[in-house]
């Protein structure tokens, strides 16, 4: 029996082995066939696809699809590497493991949705999701931080809705394919983003969960545009200064406390009412804005990215929605639940209840009660310590979790273009944001934000346009449609040092405010405000301490001729100038404000206040009828100047002093009026310049931008051409001087010695002839020139008497030129004579060394 049993056992064992072998064979065969299938894809896949498509179209719930779905038939898989098309044995093992895990899971939790563990890739090969993540650090420094990274992903890809909004997709394409076609669903988005974030060091995870309708459809129409939100003004907490020991006591307050309280109460009541009213208003608005409830709320599948705190100085956990690149707190109500999450190393299932959205979830992935992990040993470190031994067993699993996806690559062009075709439009609540790639628009426009008054987006409230690479440094243009006020913001570097220019029309002498970068200006002008009748200028950092100048203009005097602002400036009625304190002067001599009342012929001076005084000196000059018609004779009388001095001084009482001051002021007045006139001119010039710039709008191109910079391109091409020419010349120098003579001989035959000698002689004699010819040519030219000159000289001597001076000049210039030519020819001839024998010898030498003739000649010599 024993033996029998053993035999049976043996048989069984053999059978089992057989079965295993068969299974193995079958699998390999299948794999082989699969590979073959790939090879003959043209016929087979089409059918399969059609089948698949049919099936899918049957299943699909009609969703409003604006964007063409990103399906497999649009993908060219022929160019993909092998790792995309097959699974390695390790991957197979992993898949088995995953299957096992999935089976156990569905057994344990039968009421939960099956796991999203190994979707098919673009080649219809099942791949474990963690291996689809390919952590990559991008070579662009802009993509180092999560916000810019997410923004890039959301800009770069076009969103495609899930085929079935209630189920995770059947396919999960590799990030490289997604990048190539710039399309993807939420899973593609989050996979790409997650790969990039892990690559740049974040503790990031892909999340498979449930999101709100807005989130799943990338619908931002109910969101306030982040660009319109004004940054909250951080209220500076006033530091309470501790009263110092000797701080004086305030004077006794004699107001009634009771009355104050009553007043306060009344105010508060009013405020409360106001607040209530506002709140109601707001509620009403909210009601209007609120969307009709979603029937599928809580069932819509979405995928996003979770970033855990700890790495890269992330202070707390947060979600990133890859569609919109916005970050949300983990408590946000848009996120309705989490099924599972994974990174490039492991896969976790959420075992916590999501009845209250994600608000109560605890993201301690090391806690096996809350988070069921799939692979051992890749857990969070806290668990690693406790289950050290079990962790080691599975270490090779961990080590070998290699991604099958190719390195994620983004070309610089694609990176710069960002959005598909370089253009993207996002609709927000009461706002529309348009984005363009730089250099796409001719005027440098890169983004435009239009804000609307109403939810339907019909009445434009304001438009903000951002520009880049403009030659005039225009950075932002803000157009307020209600007030028709335009405000242009410039970066430093405008030829007129403009910083901000706000205006309603480009016509001169209208309301406008121009601000300047005062450090770039010689006159230290900060701001110039204009209204039709006034102009106000603010200065800083001037050597004459001028800080402010205000000019009132009168109505323009009508002239018969067509008058522009340039030729007919408006009459100045009043100039007010203020000055900073000049520390070099005593306060009572330092003018703080001076007013030229041009029409009334009065000048008012106000001096600075001394440190320990409260009153300032004043002086007023009345210039009544003091100028005679013929000259500057001024009769000074004591009543012409009204003076108040804080500390009366002797010398200022004198008429002489007053007279001198007055004369000085008159000069200053003239100067000020001139400066006013210059300012007006400058405004005109600026307006002209702006108009020109608006019409031309040239864009600057960085010298490092090799693609766009025409100049450098030309230069580079010129360099290349030169290289090429150089090369050609080198080839030319190696030109075969024997060729014309060798042609005469029958080709392909070895030269005889006699032939060689003849060849050499011919060559040399030919060269000699050429040299002689050249010499003759030069000689002939020389003689010709000389003859002509002689002729001319003869002619001159004959007609010398009758010549006009111009002719004589002509003759003389001809002579000098002829002489020059003759001299050059002479020099050339001499040089030729000198060099000819040398050249001849050189050729002879060369011929001697020529490999074709050399040996024969050597033998001969």
């Amino acid at each position: 029996m024993e033996v029998l049993r053993e035999k049976v056992e043996e048989e069984e064992e053999a059978e089992r082995e057989d079965a295993a072998e068969r299974a193995e064979r079958a699998r390999t065969e299948k794999m082989m066939r699969q590979v073959e299938v790939r090879k003959e894809e043209t016929t087979l896949t089409q059918e399969m696809l059609r089948d698949l498509e049919k099936k899918l179209s049957e299943i699909r719930i009609p969703v409003s699809v604006e964007v063409p779905a990103f399906t497999k038939d649009t993908i060219d898989i022929s160019m993909l590497p092998v790792s995309y098309k097959t699974n390695t044995s390790k991957e197979e093992q992993l898949l088995q493991l995953a299957d096992n895990f999935s089976r156990q899971y569905s057994h344990l939790c039968p009421d939960r949705v099956p796991l999203f563990l190994h979707p098919l890739n673009e080649c219809e090969v099942p791949k474990f999701v963690s291996t689809t993540l390919r952590p990559t650090l991008m070579p662009y420094p802009e993509l180092y931080n999560w916000d810019s990274c997410a923004q890039f992903v959301s800009d770069f890809l076009t969103m495609v809705p899930l085929p079935d909004p209630l189920k995770p997709p059947l396919h999960l394409y590799s990030s490289s394919t997604v990048l190539k076609y710039q399309k993807g669903n939420c899973f593609d988005f989050s996979t790409l983003l997650c790969s990039m974030l892990i690559g740049s060091g974040y503790d990031a995870y892909c999340v498979n969960g449930y999101g709100s309708q807005d989130l799943c459809h990338m619908d931002l129409t109910r969101e306030v545009c982040p660009l319109t939100v004004k940054p909250k003004e951080t209220i500076k907490r006033e530091e309470k200064v501790l009263p110092k020991k000797y701080t004086i006591r305030p004077p006794r307050d004699l107001c009634s406390r009771f009355e104050q309280e009553q007043e306060m109460k009344r105010q508060q009541e009013i405020r409360a009412q106001e607040e209530k009213r506002l709140k109601e208003e707001e509620e009403r608005l909210m009601e209007a804005e609120k969307a009709n409830p979603d029937a599928l709320h809580g069932l819509r599948v979405h995928s996003w990215v979770l970033v855990l705190s700890g790495k890269r100085e992330v202070p707390e956990n947060f979600f990133i929605d890859p569609f919109t690149a916005r970050s949300y707190s983990t408590q946000d109500e848009h996120f309705l639940g989490i099924e599972s999450l994974w990174n490039h190393k492991n896969y976790w299932i959420n075992m916590q209840d999501c009845w209250n959205c994600c608000k109560d979830l605890i993201f301690d992935l090391g806690d096996p009660v809350r988070w069921e992990y799939m692979l051992l040993g890749t857990d969070k470190p806290e668990l690693f310590l406790t289950e050290d031994d079990s962790g080691i067993n599975n270490e090779d699993d961990v080590e070998n979790l290699h991604s099958w996806v190719e390195q994620i690559e983004i070309s610089p062009e694609a990176f710069e273009t960002r959005c598909p075709n370089g253009k993207k439009v996002i609709q927000y609540k009461r706002a529309k944001l348009e984005k363009w790639a730089p250099y796409l628009n001719h005027n440098g426009l890169v983004s435009r934000l239009t804000t609307y008054e109403d939810l339907e987006c019909t009445n434009i409230l304001e438009i903000k346009e951002w520009y880049r690479n403009r030659e005039d440094m225009l950075e932002l243009r803000h157009i307020n449609k209600t007030t028709a006020l335009k405000t242009d913001y410039f970066k430093p570097g405008h030829p007129r040092a403009l910083r901000v220019h706000s205006y309603k029309s480009m016509q001169p002498e209208m309301d406008r405010v121009i601000e300047f970068y005062e450090t770039a200006r010689v006159d230290g002008l900060i701001k110039r405000e204009e209204t039709p009748r006034t102009m106000t200028e603010y200065y800083r950092g001037r050597s004459d301490f001028l800080s402010y100048r205000h000019v009132d203009f009168g109505p323009r005097v009508k002239k018969l001729t067509l008058s522009s602002a340039e030729s007919n400036p408006r009459p100045v009625v009043k100039i007010t100038e203020r000055f900073f304190r000049n520390p070099a002067k005593p306060a009572e001599e330092d003018v703080a404000e001076r007013v030229f009342l041009v029409a009334e012929e009065r000048i008012q001076l106000r001096y600075h206040c001394r440190e320990d005084h409260i009153t300032a000196s004043k002086r007023e000059f009345l210039r009544r009828s003091e100028v005679d018609s013929e000259g500057n004779k001024i009769i000074v009388t004591p009543d012409m100047c009204i003076t108040f001095e804080v500390e009366p001084m002797e010398h200022t009482k004198k008429l002489l002093y007053q007279y001198e001051t007055l004369m000085h002021l008159k000069k200053e007045e003239k100067l000020s009026r001139r400066q006013v006139w210059e300012s007006e001119l400058e405004v005109l010039e600026i307006l002209k310049l702006l108009k020109e710039e608006e019409e031309v709008h040239t864009l600057t191109i960085s010298i490092y931008d090799t693609k766009r910079n025409e100049k450098s391109k030309e230069y580079r091409e010129a360099m290349e051409r030169m290289m090429h020419e150089e090369h050609l010349r080198q080839v030319e120098t190696q030109l075969d001087y024997l060729a014309p003579f060798l042609v005469q001989l029958p080709p392909g035959e070895k030269l005889t010695r006699w032939q060689a000698v003849r060849l050499k002689d011919e060559c040399l004699s030919d060269f000699k002839q050429r040299l002689i010819n050249k010499a003759n040519l030069i000689q002939a030219r020389f003689e010709k020139e000389t003859q002509e000159l002689q002729k001319k000289q003869q002619w001159y001597q004959e007609n010398q008497v009758t010549l006009t001076p111009e002719d004589e000049d002509l003759y003389l210039s001809y002579c000098s030129q002829a002489m020059f030519r003759i001299r050059i020819l002479e020099q050339r001839l001499n040089r030729h004579k000198e060099l000819a024998p040398l050249k001849y010898l050189a050729l002879e030498e060369k011929l001697h060394k020529d490999p074709r003739l050399g040996e024969l000649l050597k033998m001969f010599t």
Binding site: K244, K245, Y246, T247, I248, R249, P251, C609, D612, H613, I614, T615, K633, I634, V636, I642, F644, V646, E650, H651, K654, L655, L656, Y659, E660, M663
Partner: protein, 535 residues
């Protein structure tokens, strides 16, 4: 002797000459007429030209207080004098005179340009006060010593120098020497010194200049050190504990004490003096007092600082309020004035003027109320400060004097010094008595000097000697203590007085200012009235 005084007789600067000179340079045309009409005060004159007048002696220039430029060239002046009051002088021309020595320039600290061309000067000196000197012209003189150049090194601003026509300019090395020793010089004898010459000159005189520089640096360092020491002492003096940070007091106790010194040669006494029990302890006490004094000084200083800061703030605040009030008033006042000017009907004008004057008096009231308020507040604060500072000073004095040390384990009062001295005295007496006993027995040490032996004749003498030494010591300690106390007290009273005086001055000034302003406003209004009536 440049010129012989043959042609004209020598003259002296008198009033007539000055008036004439001032009159000559007054402005032209209209301004000139005005100036003539009003006359020019000598102290308003900024520049004066007195050349070619055969002046022998400089005199009567003291009235020109604000003179900046004075030309006295081409005269026959023999001595520089009478320029002491012209401290604002920047430009002084004394060329073509008969001056032999440089003198009388010590007060002209602002002088930048000095010309002594064509005189008989043989030595450059007495110019130390002229730290701002930039241009010095000394050509055509009798200077013959190269060392004069080194004297010029002290003028850091000197850029232009002319020395041609002097005996030293005949020396072959003249130019190089000057270039080397005065490296900041730019123009020499009306020519620019080029860089090449400078380099060559420097290379030539390299060693001697280095030596000179080294010496100068040493001197500089010494002076700085001295300065630092003086400052330190000054600081200690303000803390009233100078010379207490060492054995100075102890040494001074023995400085005038002949008996004590004699006694110290006794066996055992020197050990007593040198041992830790007395001298060191004494010094420790002194140092402790010193440190305590510095600490207290710091305290007083912070007290004073906070006080002045607060007062300053209060005054500033008050001034701001006043300024605001005035600005508001002025705005309104200007409007009403122009309204009055435009008004035609008499009764209306009168009404408006009345309004204006009430406005003015209201402003006056408001400003005065503000001022009075501030005065009251400051009074209170000053009183508080006085209390505090007096208390602080009292505490310091008490602690320094007191029998009970303010902290138990530290030796830091004068009383402890005295205790120590008493203790020492007792011990000394003991030793002396024992020595006397020995002397009586006849076995006194042989190596004692005759002076000391003289003391040991009888008990009275020795006790007296020891007592006298003790008294001197105590006196020294007492004196030091008294000095400290009186000085700190007087400082305190002076400080408080000064604060009060300043406050009173400030108040008066402000009141004066306000009334001046109000008066002006009123008179302006009155003028308006008159002119209206006239119209």
């Amino acid at each position: 002797m440049n010129r012989l005084y043959t042609s004209l007789e020598p003259r002296v600067i008198d009033d007539g000459m000055l008036k004439l000179a001032v009159g000559e340079q007054r402005p032209q045309e209209e301004a000139g007429k005005l100036a003539k009409q009003e006359g020019i005060l000598f102290k308003d004159v900024l520049s004066l030209q007195l050349d070619f007048r055969n002046i022998l002696r400089i005199d009567n220039l003291w009235q020109f207080e604000n003179l900046k430029k004075l030309q006295l060239n081409n005269n026959i002046i023999e001595k520089i004098e009478g320029l002491e009051n012209l401290t604002h002088l920047v430009w002084l021309d004394l060329s073509f005179n008969n001056i032999e020595t440089i003198e009388g320039l010590d007060t002209l600290v602002n002088l930048e340009d000095l010309s002594l061309f064509n005189n008989c000067i043989s030595n450059i000196d007495s110019l130390d006060a002229l730290i701002k000197l930039q241009v010095l012209s000394l050509g055509n003189n009798q200077i013959d010593n190269m060392m004069n150049i080194i004297y010029l090194r002290r003028f850091r601003c000197l850029r232009t120098l002319s020395l041609s026509g002097n005996p030293i300019s005949e020396v072959e090395d003249y130019k190089m020497f000057i270039c080397a020793y005065l490296p900041d010089l730019v123009y020499l004898d009306f020519r620019r010194i080029d860089d090449h010459t400078k380099e060559v000159a420097e290379a030539k005189h390299h060693y001697s200049i280095e030596e000179l520089k080294h010496r100068e640096n040493l001197m500089q360092a010494q002076m700085e050190e001295e300065q630092a020491r003086r400052e330190e002492l000054e600081k200690h003096k303000t803390a009233f504990v100078e010379h207490l940070n060492g054995s100075f007091l102890f040494d001074s106790m023995y400085a005038e004490d002949s008996e004590g010194n004699k006694l110290s040669s006794l066996p055992g006494v020197s050990e007593l003096l040198e041992s830790l029990t007395y001298r060191d302890k004494f010094v420790i006490i002194c140092v402790n007092i010193f440190e305590y004094g510095l600490k207290h000084q710091e305290k007083r200083k912070t007290e004073l600082d906070t006080f002045s800061e607060c007062v300053h703030e209060a005054i500033q605040e008050n001034q701001e309020q006043g300024k605001r009030k005035i600005a508001k008033f002025e705005e309104k006042h200007l409007m009403s004035l122009s309204a009055i000017r435009e008004e035609v009907e008499m009764p209306n004008i009168e009404k408006m003027i009345l309004e204006c004057s009430t406005d003015i008096s209201e402003l006056f009231d408001a400003l005065m109320t503000l001022e009075m308020q501030l005065v009251e507040q400051l009074e209170e604060t000053i009183n508080m400060f006085e209390r505090n500072i007096v208390h602080l000073v009292g505490l310091f004095i008490k602690n320094v004097q007191s029998l009970y040390p303010f902290c138990d384990d530290l030796l830091c009062t004068m009383a402890q010094c005295r205790d120590l001295e008493n203790h020492h005295h007792e011990k000394l007496l003991e030793i002396s008595i024992s020595t006397l006993e020995k002397a009586v027995k006849g076995n006194l040490d042989k190596d004692l000097s005759e002076d000391v032996r003289g003391l040991f004749v009888d008990k009275n003498t020795i006790v007296n000697a020891v007592g006298a030494s003790h008294d001197i010591h105590l006196l020294k300690i007492d004196n030091r203590e008294d000095e400290l106390v009186t000085r700190i007290n007087s400082w305190c009273t002076r400080l408080v007085d000064k604060i009060r005086r300043d406050e009173i001055m400030r108040n008066r000034k402000r009141v004066k200012e306000i009334s001046l302003y109000i008066d002006h406003m009123k008179s302006e209004l009155d003028n308006l009235e008159y002119s209206d009536i006239l119209d």
